[in-house]
């Protein structure tokens, strides 16, 4: 009896929730940090693992998720890429409008091939982006990425890259809209990115 009653009240709440949601209409409460007013994402041109030029401004129509890291990284970067692969799976058909791009912070050890191998282990649609230190420097500056090469004495790793670990979301109109801190919840990322994929772009 109690279960039935609970079920009934659950149904009521569920209905109420749906009504409230539909009432929201177009607005969406972002979990990520929202950049307002949205500005055109600083453009850059790097090379992907297929040897093709990746020009950010040419990605309009897709939501671009940018993450900066290095392929020798065994902890933070694979964690983030595994999370982004999960985000794309969760998005279902909306994922078709999402392009994940992993930008190297370690042009010394990484190559386009190595980046392709690394990101391909998580999702075949991911891009690994490569550039020379000179090409990368303005990109890091534009996006406020901290990247410091740090020698690790006694470690076989040789050196590591201390780096900021934000996830950048660029909307279909090419505006830099959102900034997710490291460790953001997958469901929150999915909800925010799904909203961006369903926006109408004039």
């Amino acid at each position: 009896m109690l279960i039935l009653r609970l079920l009934r009240s659950f149904r009521l709440y569920a209905l109420l929730f749906i009504v409230l949601l539909s009432g929201c209409g177009g607005s969406h409460e972002f979990t990520a940090t929202v950049l307002e007013p949205p500005n055109t994402a600083p453009d850059f041109s790097l090379v992907n693992q297929h040897g093709e030029t990746f020009q950010l401004s040419e990605q309009q129509g897709s939501v671009v998720l940018l993450f900066f890291g290095f392929t020798s990284c065994p902890d933070i970067c694979p964690g983030e890429l595994a999370q982004l692969a999960a985000v794309r799976r969760e998005l279902g058909s909306d994922a078709e409008q999402v392009q994940v791009a992993f930008v190297t912070l370690d042009p010394e050890r990484d190559t386009p091939e190595r980046l392709g191998w690394y990101v391909g282990n998580f999702d075949p649609t991911f891009y690994g982006l490569y550039g020379s230190p000179e090409e990368l420097e303005p990109v890091l500056q534009d996006y406020g990425v901290t990247s410091i090469k740090r020698e690790l004495e006694g470690s076989q790793l040789g050196y590591t890259i201390d780096h900021s670990a934000f996830l950048y979301a660029i909307d279909k109109a090419g505006n830099w809209r959102l900034l997710f801190p490291y460790g953001s919840n997958i469901d929150d990322i999915v909800a925010d990115v799904r909203y961006l994929t369903r926006e109408n772009v004039q």
Binding site: Q49, S72, P74, I148, S155, Q156, L157, D162, S164, G183
Partner: protein, 197 residues
């Protein structure tokens, strides 16, 4: 005079107490031997390792015109170079992975993980990650403390057992055998399941 009369009695009492203490210490030592012989105060829960795939140069994603001077290598040489990347390149340029787990210590003394080994990687190191002002800083550590009557969690973004120069594909569902060496408890065998986080 009184003093003289009392003295043997006191001596005897001291002797008696010493005997009790000795018996107590012996008993303790024996009990300690007993536990050390059959089990250790260290237990490891939910060990897992990140998947890893060796670089395969025949992969479709490698066929583009990247930075590599493909013209100078025929396909056979490319494949060999690819296999070599399994771990022979050193300085972090191999395939790396990491293992995580919860290590608990039921002893009243802290213990320390001081090293680890595995057959699937060239080198195993202990590392941690600290976040300072949003910057992730990974550092090698000499040891990982397992607090007395407590536990330490090795998890993404924190302490981890780093596998450098992984020699074989680690596919989800595979098992990675690790040997952790603790300062007090000695060697502990760990079977880590390969899985996505």
């Amino acid at each position: 005079l009184i003093h003289d009369r009392l003295k043997p009695d006191v001596d005897e009492r001291i002797m008696h107490m010493r005997r009790i203490t000795l018996a107590f210490i012996l008993g303790l030592a024996l009990a300690a031997c007993g536990t050390a012989g059959t089990s250790t105060p260290i237990t490891v829960q939910e060990p897992w390792a990140r998947p890893a795939a060796l670089m395969d140069m025949d992969d479709e994603s490698m066929s583009g015109e990247g930075e590599m001077d493909e013209g100078e290598m025929d396909e056979g040489e490319m494949s060999e170079a690819g296999e070599g990347m399994g771990g022979m390149m050193g300085h972090g340029n191999g395939v790396n992975s990491a293992a995580y787990m919860v290590i608990a210590n039921s002893s009243s003394a802290p213990d320390f993980v001081i090293s680890a080994t595995t057959d699937v990687a060239e080198t195993v190191e202990l590392h941690t990650v600290e976040m300072n002002d949003g910057v992730m800083q990974m550092r090698q550590v000499e040891q990982i403390e397992v607090p007395a009557n407590g536990q330490v969690e090795l998890k993404p973004g924190g302490f981890h057992v780093m596998l450098l120069g992984v020699q074989q594909n680690l596919n989800p569902g595979d098992t990675v055998s690790l040997t952790l060496t603790l300062q007090n408890a000695g060697d502990i065998q760990v079977e880590a399941t390969v899985r996505e986080p």
